[in-house]
Symmetry: C2
Subunit: 209 residues, 2 copies
C-alpha cells in the first residue's frame, strides 16, 4: 500500500491561522494532558479498524503498526507530562469529533467509508495544528515545540493511510462526494466551536479578516 | 509495579496434558490462523483496560506497552502465516472466553476485578499451552515450535500484570474469593469443551486416567 501525498490537503476547506497556536501558549499544561488522551483514542480507533477491516489482509499490518505508533506517542506524552510535573487526569473532551461524526452515513459500506475519511481528516488536522504549535512554541517552550514537531511528522503518514483505505470502499465518484461532505462539515465545526485548550478547538473568523 | 511469579499458578485448577499439544500437530495451519486472531483480541483487551483504568496513572504505561507487544505478536503471526503460504481468514471463535465470562459479576468494582482476573487466567492458560506446543512441535515443525516458545515467554509477563491490577481493586479476601470462582470456572470449561484446533480448546478427561 502506497501512503503518500500532502496530508493537509485532506482537510483544506479550513486553514488554521498561526494565531490559534499562539493563543495556546498560556494553556500548555492542559493541551498536553489532552494530547495524551488523543493518542490513546487514536490507538483505540486504529485497533477498531483492525477488526472492522478484518477481511483486508493487506491493511492489517499497516493498521497494527499505526496503532503501535499511537501507543508509543501516548507513552511519550505521559513522559512529557511527568517531566513538567503535570499529573495526567481526565478532561472534558472537545466536541469536535462528536460533531464531525454527526454526518456519518447510516448504512454500510458508506458508514465505514465515512468513518475512515473522518479519521483521515482528524489526523490531517492534527498534523496541521501540531506544525503550527511547533512554530508558535519554539521561542517560548522549545522542548514542547520539538515534541509537537516529532508528532507532526508521524501524523503526516497516518492521514493518507486512512484516506487510501476509504478510497477502496466505493466507486471514485461516491468517495469524492463523501469526502466533500466531511471536509465541509469539518470546516463548519471549526468555525463554530469556541477557542479552548484543545487540539481541535475552534477559532471563530473575525468579519473582514 | 512489580510483575513476577509463576503465571501457570494463576490457572492451576486444571493442568493440560502434553497429549493435547500432540493432538494439535495435524491442525497447525488453523491453529496459527487462530493465533493471529487471539493476538489481535489480546491487544484490543489491553486497550480497553487502558480506558477502564484511565485514572490509574501507574498502570497506563504498562497496559500501553502490553498492547504494543500483542500487536507486534499479531504482525509476527501474520508473517508466520505468509511464510507457510496460509491465507489469514476469519474463523469461528472458540467458546472458551465467552463461557469464562459467564461468571463475571454484574456490579462494579467486582465486575472490573473479575474481568482483569479472567484476562490473567487467559494469559496464564495461553502461556501453559504455548509451552506445551513448543515441546510437542519441536521434532515435527521446529520453526513453529520456536515461534510458540517466544510467545510463551512474553505471555509469562502478561498474566501477572493483570493479576496485580486485579488485586488492587478490593480487599484481599474478596480478591481471593473471586479468583477461586474464576479458576474453578476455567477448569470446568476446559473439561467440558471438545477438542478443537483452538489454543483454548477442551481435552475431556478419560475416566481412570
Amino acid at each position: 500500500m502506497v501512503v503518500a501525498g500532502n496530508p493537509t490537503a485532506l482537510c483544506s476547506a479550513y486553514v488554521t491561522p498561526l494565531a490559534w497556536a499562539e493563543a495556546q501558549r498560556p494553556h500548555l499544561d492542559e493541551l498536553l494532558i489532552e494530547q495524551a488522551h488523543l493518542e490513546k483514542k487514536a490507538a483505540a480507533a486504529a485497533v477498531q479498524f483492525l477488526f472492522r477491516l478484518g477481511d483486508r489482509t493487506d491493511a492489517q499490518k499497516e493498521l497494527s503498526a499505526l496503532a503501535r505508533e499511537e501507543l508509543l506517542h501516548f507513552e511519550r506524552t505521559l513522559r512529557v507530562l511527568a517531566s513538567r510535573g503535570i499529573v495526567f487526569r481526565t478532561l472534558p473532551p472537545s466536541p469536535y469529533a462528536g460533531q464531525l461524526k454527526a454526518v456519518v452515513a447510516g448504512t454500510m459500506p458508506e458508514r465505514l467509508l465515512d468513518e475512515l475519511w473522518i479519521s483521515a481528516c482528524i489526523e490531517a488536522r492534527s498534523h496541521e495544528r501540531m506544525g503550527l504549535l511547533a512554530t508558535a512554541l519554539q521561542p517560548f517552550a522549545p522542548e514542547v515545540a520539538a515534541f509537537y514537531a516529532d508528532l507532526c511528522a508521524a501524523e503526516a503518514r497516518h492521514a493518507p493511510l486512512y484516506a487510501e483505505l476509504a478510497a477502496t470502499l466505493a466507486p471514485s465518484a461516491v468517495v469524492a462526494a463523501r469526502r466533500q461532505v466531511i471536509e465541509r462539515r469539518e470546516a463548519e465545526v471549526l468555525r463554530q466551536l469556541p477557542f479552548a485548550p484543545r487540539l481541535h478547538s475552534g477559532w471563530p473568523e473575525v468579519p473582514g479578516e
